[in-house]
């Protein structure tokens, strides 16, 4: 293991509460109200009262919601510290929370997200593309993701049939998850015969658009020891950015993720071979392919063959997204993977439990701009 300053935070902070609301369609509530529901569930899970929370990190959501100054009045809190992240994916929020706790700005921090983007018909037709790109018909993350996948196929011979393993594996996992939105059986034929969204990306390579909320509560390792749930310690955290975005030659292939790989394992003091259950944020299946490679679970270019033969399924060598991921569980901008990781490490994942899971890793990105990873362990 290499040495990194990030190892200073090893095991200093723990996740002590997680809350996930019903997913799918939640009419009659806006994103902030759904975030409050998730907060209540996480408090209950942690055995905490709301006044125990002195740090608040919210995440912007569809419809200009999700701002801390909007949400704090809804939960009646004047926390010592609060902020809003534009895009949490849980990882970025989690790291911010750990910094606040380690730095003494707050003792117990709630990170939360809620959205009603399905009920309010947000189809991500614009994304963040520049107006000249929209003029050419570049809508939705499916556009750039399809270009990245085609390039991967061109350079490494990756096939659509190989790619089906990601959607099929996540669906099989979702069928064991009561809050998952997509629980019908999915076969390879279903996948290959499904329509293209943006060729070569099929319908089942794309995430859902759903309402829902999630909340994660963190505190110092010392405080965590006396709480209701077995603590899940944060072993390591690392990030990198690619904020020059369009100016970067390999923007769509996202090689900048390698810098997170180079830091995360030394930070946690373990290797990728120690990871018992892996989570990868997956607005499209292409993200899974890229991150398996950039984190070194396989060689760059070999992701297509690596994911075959049940390797990433429950009972396989590297169980991935046991919740069903964003392709089949629900699309919460990456917020549902850490609650599932925590449940796995507590042994609370029911029929999806990875036997003896001790260490989990979550890898997420903010499109082509930011990457983050967290390694967690059980007590």
């Amino acid at each position: 293991m290499g040495v990194t300053e990030l190892s200073k935070l090893r095991d200093q902070v723990a996740i002590v509460g997680v809350g996930t609301t019903r997913q799918g369609t939640i009419p009659g509530k806006d994103g902030n109200e759904i975030a409050v529901d998730a907060f209540k569930l996480a408090l209950d899970d942690a055995g905490l009262e709301k006044d125990d929370i002195d740090g608040l990190l919210t995440c912007r959501s569809f419809g200009d919601l999700g701002v801390d100054t909007q949400i704090a009045p809804l939960i009646g809190l004047n926390p010592l510290y609060s902020a809003t992240l534009d895009y949490g994916t849980c990882n970025f929020s989690l790291h911010f929370a750990a910094m606040l706790i380690a730095g003494g700005f707050a003792h117990t921090v709630a990170c939360m997200y809620g959205t009603n983007q399905r009920s309010n018909r947000n189809f991500f037709a614009g994304t963040s593309a520049a107006d000249y790109a929209l003029a050419h018909g570049l809508f939705n993350i499916a556009g750039p993701a399809s270009m990245a996948l085609r390039r991967h196929m061109h350079e490494y011979g990756t096939t659509e049939e190989q790619m089906s393993a990601i959607a099929l594996t996540e669906r099989a996992h979702a069928r064991l998850n009561p809050i998952a939105v997509m629980r019908d059986e999915l076969t390879k034929d279903d996948y290959l015969n499904s329509r293209y969204i943006v060729e070569p990306l099929h319908l089942f390579d794309m995430c859902l658009i759903t309402d829902g909320g999630a909340c994660v509560i963190l505190t110092s390792a010392e405080r965590a020891r006396d709480m209701k749930q077995p603590p899940v310690y944060i072993m390591g955290m690392a990030e990198n950015t690619s904020l020059r975005n369009f100016q970067n030659d390999d923007q769509l292939m996202r090689p900048f993720i390698q810098t997170v790989r180079d830091q995360i394992y030394p930070a946690a003091g373990v290797g990728r071979e120690d990871v018992d259950v892996l989570f990868i944020q997956d607005p499209t299946s292409v993200w899974v392919l890229q991150m398996l490679e950039w984190y070194g679970f396989c060689e760059v270019g070999e992701g297509g063959s690596f994911i075959q033969d049940g390797r990433i399924g429950l009972g396989g060598e590297l169980p991935l997204n046991t919740n069903g991921g964003q392709l089949s569980e629900s699309y919460m901008w990456g917020w549902l993977h850490i609650p599932e990781a925590v449940r796995q490490l507590r042994g609370q994942a029911g029929p999806r439990q990875v036997e003896g899971a001790e260490i989990a890793q979550y890898c997420s990105t903010m499109a082509f701009s930011k990457a983050a990873s967290t390694i967690m362990r059980r007590d």
């Binding site: 399809s146 270009m147 085609r150």
Partner: protein
């Protein structure tokens, strides 16, 4: 041309205006930094390499290669209904920048990564000319 329903760029945007004015004259121009020679896109006041503001809107060769492309089958915007399935490509220009565009004059099935292309101007309205590419040589 008045019934053009697709999204249009803001050609009055102060940074982008010279780009669109050039396109209207059927020229592909981008900013080249006077200080370090870096060709930047999208347009910006400062060179992202050396932070200098001085630049020329230089005429580009209009040549490049297809870096990758996707073919839209799903209709995200009703104005594109007659175009489905249509391609959106990322073209690597000879001068460095990459441009989101469409490739015309070729069937989607015949498109390939690495395909050499040259610029083609499409006057979609009286005010707006879009920069597309077609196979070259």
């Amino acid at each position: 041309m008045t019934d053009y329903a697709k999204p249009l760029p803001d050609v009055a945007d102060p940074n982008m205006a010279p780009y669109w004015e050039a396109a209207k004259r059927h020229e592909l121009r981008m900013q080249r930094c006077d200080s370090c020679g870096y060709v930047r896109f999208p347009p910006a006041k400062h060179c992202p390499e050396c932070l200098d503001e001085n630049h020329d809107w230089v005429l580009l060769s209009g040549r490049g290669t297809v870096w990758s492309f996707g073919v839209y089958h799903h209709l995200f915007n009703r104005a594109f209904a007659d175009d489905i399935p249509y391609n959106v490509a990322l073209v690597q220009l000879e001068e460095g920048p990459r441009l989101v565009t469409n490739i015309v004059g070729v069937e989607n099935e015949a498109m390939e990564i690495g395909m050499p292309v040259e610029v083609e101007f499409d006057d979609v309205t009286d005010e707006v000319t879009l920069v597309r590419f077609r196979p070259r040589g």
